[in-house]
């Protein structure tokens, strides 16, 4: 939740001791801020075990901020909440955290943790400022001004640490809260350019009707990372399949607006078909080449992360878009 300001995993790992598939042990990265040669460390981060076995990891530590304060704003329109996020960035503020929940998510969590969220709001926006007391006071005043200007119907600023944690408790409990109101839920992890948020959320709304499934949205608003949670019941025949189809459509939408199929959860096996949509055959071939550069016999986590072109061809056959068959050069079986 804090990565807009403090960076992702790739920004906070210095060095990884790795056992390669041939048994040799290497240090990727360094105790220094950079290492000689190619940035293999960046390749290792998020590589889903495809390149080597990490046995020791050196991470960067960040001094704990002296203090933090959280603003909770309610909006009668999701678009306005999205615009408020843009407004905060435009004011030159990089908050320690910035999260949006839609009405469905808000209601589910309010029932669960009683954080005092406005359950009639179409969107709840949480914005955290952290740093020295002077810094936080100055920044919070500016955040409040932006939220008011953006048309928030209610803005509350945490008055103490207990209240700040309460504001966050709801957002942090979003997944279990949704788990309470539905037998199953399916979490999606697309990232989009932030300006596409209203359009994407409208489309998701339309899809709920089309697929006959409910969807609650939580959103790392600062960095455009969406977590739509599709509510379903695996005991109802066909619902899981409908859910998966719904999820696939959302990921395709993320790609269409210039985003990605996974912001932080990874590809694994689940999203491997969507890799065929996000990347061309030539790009996937380079990924397979990188895999082979580390693990020529493909013995580490085979079948994860990067699809083979054959898999893409088979997926393409199942799922032809606008009449364009993907990878027509490949033989079909």
């Amino acid at each position: 939740m804090h990565c807009l300001k403090y960076g992702l995993t790739v920004h906070n790992v210095r060095k990884v001791r790795t056992v390669l598939i041939d048994g040799r042990v290497v240090e990727v990265g360094a105790d220094a801020l950079d290492a000689a040669g190619y940035d293999l460390l960046a390749l290792m981060i998020g590589s889903e075990g495809l390149l080597g076995v990490a046995t020791e990891i050196t991470v960067k530590l960040t001094p704990k901020p002296l203090t933090a304060q959280c603003a909770m704003a309610a909006f009668d329109d999701l678009g306005k909440a999205g615009a408020a996020v843009g407004g905060i960035i435009a004011a030159g503020i990089i908050p320690g955290g910035m999260e949006i929940m839609d009405k469905a998510a808000t209601r589910a969590v309010e029932d669960f943790v009683h954080a005092g969220y406005n359950v009639d709001a179409e969107a709840i926006l949480l914005v955290e400022s952290d740093g020295t007391p002077e810094e936080v006071a100055e920044e919070m005043a500016r955040i409040k001004a932006v939220l008011d200007f953006a048309g928030a119907v209610e803005v509350r600023i945490s008055v103490n640490e207990a209240e700040r944690l309460l504001f966050w408790a709801g957002r942090k409990a979003a997944f279990p809260a949704v788990g309470r109101i539905s037998p199953d839920y399916y979490c999606i992890d697309g990232t989009i350019p932030r300006r596409a948020l209203p359009e994407v959320l409208r489309s998701i709304q339309a899809m709920t009707a089309q697929f006959g499934l409910r969807c609650a949205n939580v959103f790392h608003a600062g960095d455009g990372n969406l977590h739509p949670l599709i509510l379903f019941d695996a005991n109802v025949p066909g619902e899981l399949e409908r859910t998966e189809a719904f999820a696939a459509r959302i990921l395709e939408l993320c790609i269409a607006v210039g985003g990605t199929i996974t912001g932080e959860h990874g590809v694994g096996i689940e999203k491997i078909n969507q890799m065929c949509l996000q990347f061309s055959a030539a790009e996937l071939t380079r990924f397979l080449g990188i895999k082979a550069a580390f693990d020529p016999l493909s013995l580490l986590n085979p079948g994860k992360g990067v699809p083979t072109l054959r898999r893409c061809a088979e997926f393409g056959r199942m799922h032809v878009h606008s009449g364009h068959e993907k990878f027509p050069e490949l033989p079909r079986f």
Binding site: V26, D34, G289
Partner: protein, 358 residues
């Protein structure tokens, strides 16, 4: 010529080179020709593919073509109240974004804000097979596929021609000031590391000629409070900004007078060691520059850097025969060779610019 015709033409050129085996030496503004191992092959001027493609300050992302001048990008961002937080050195007005990303060089803010690679979100490249490829994107978080955008950063053009790069932007700090302390080097290294462990708005640090320079950036109140806490002597008006600019661009006499300039990237806490020559310490202790008037034993420098958790680069030198970059251990060199073969099987892009082996 428009990008629509330029890119296919360049792809053709790369494919042709693949057939003839004549290497291509990728060049933007030519401001970093001094950096790296040998320059080999036909000059492939990529400065024509220039211009900012997309910049929406509220998205915190800028996308520009490889040939775009860094000066243009920085001016555009300054106007919008934002910056390239890694403060890339330009080493000349003609410096391009492509060269900045290919060399992967970052400036004074690096230890506190991040390096070029930390801000690269996506790239479009022509690789050594002549394919037009896109990796990463224009979004902050993206873990689909291997992180090829960052692999390309600092690869010195050996893996692809950078056509387009998307970078994360950050707001300019509201306030900034520089404080100076009279201090010997060993104490400066200790102090700056001690401060780095505290929640202080540090944005640059350097030790030079018995003085420690510390820059503070952020909210007015935070900068003021930190200045009062740390003490030291505050630089007046624009002097601080000019000093850091001059450091970043290596315009100081320290850099100009070296017959060999070594860049030692080490663990920030590595104790100061007198290596028998002038030193400039940057990046909270993580970067030690050696100004070598005559010739220093290469092995000594490399060994000290390695023992200090890092590596040494012969940054500027009339003679590069001793090798520019720290040699790679065999297992890593094998991986490098295979990565090179994946993106450039014929070995035509900037051959030998990084390591003689590829």
């Amino acid at each position: 010529m428009s990008a629509d015709t330029l890119i296919p033409e360049w792809q053709e050129r790369v494919r042709a080179a693949q057939v003839t085996g004549v290497p291509l030496r990728i060049r933007g503004g030519g401001t970093k020709d001094f950096y790296g191992e040998r320059l080999e092959g036909e000059v492939f001027d990529v400065s024509a593919h220039a211009g900012i493609v997309d910049y929406d300050p509220t998205e915190l992302v800028i996308t520009a073509r490889g040939g775009t001048r860094l000066a243009e990008i920085e001016a555009t961002m300054t106007e919008a109240g934002q910056m390239l937080a890694f403060e890339p050195p330009q080493f000349g007005d003609a410096a391009t974004l492509g060269g900045c990303v290919a060399t992967g060089l970052s400036g004074p803010r690096r230890p506190y804000a991040g390096a070029v690679r930390d801000f690269v979100l996506g790239v479009r490249v022509i690789d050594g097979k002549g394919d037009n490829l896109r990796f990463g994107g224009k979004v902050m978080k993206n873990v689909a596929g291997f992180d090829v955008s960052r692999l390309m950063t600092g690869a010195l053009g050996t893996l692809g021609v950078l056509l387009e790069v998307s970078l994360k932007c950050l707001p300019l700090p509201k306030a900034e000031t520089t404080i100076v302390f009279e201090m010997p080097a060993p104490e400066a290294v200790r102090k700056i590391n001690e401060w780095a462990g505290q929640p202080l708005p540090l944005s640059a640090s350097a030790w030079h000629e018995e003085r420690l320079y510390v820059r503070l950036s952020g909210a007015e109140a935070a900068v003021g409070a930190a200045r009062d806490k740390l003490g030291g002597e505050e630089m007046a008006g624009a002097d601080g900004g000019n000093w850091w600019r001059s450091l970043r661009e290596q315009r100081m006499a320290f850099y100009a007078t070296a017959s060999q300039l070594w860049r030692l990237s080490v663990k920030p806490t590595a104790p100061f060691t007198d290596l028998g020559t002038f030193q400039m310490i940057e990046w909270g202790g993580a970067l030690r520059w050696l100004n070598v008037a005559s010739v220093l034993e290469t092995a000594t420098v490399r060994e000290w850097a390695q023992d200090s958790g890092g590596h040494a680069t012969l940054f500027r030198s009339a003679s590069r025969h001793a090798g520019v970059f720290q040699p790679l251990q065999p297992a890593l060199l094998d991986i490098h060779r295979r990565l090179k073969a994946t993106f450039d099987p014929a070995g035509i892009l900037n051959r030998g610019r990084m390591y003689p082996e590829f």
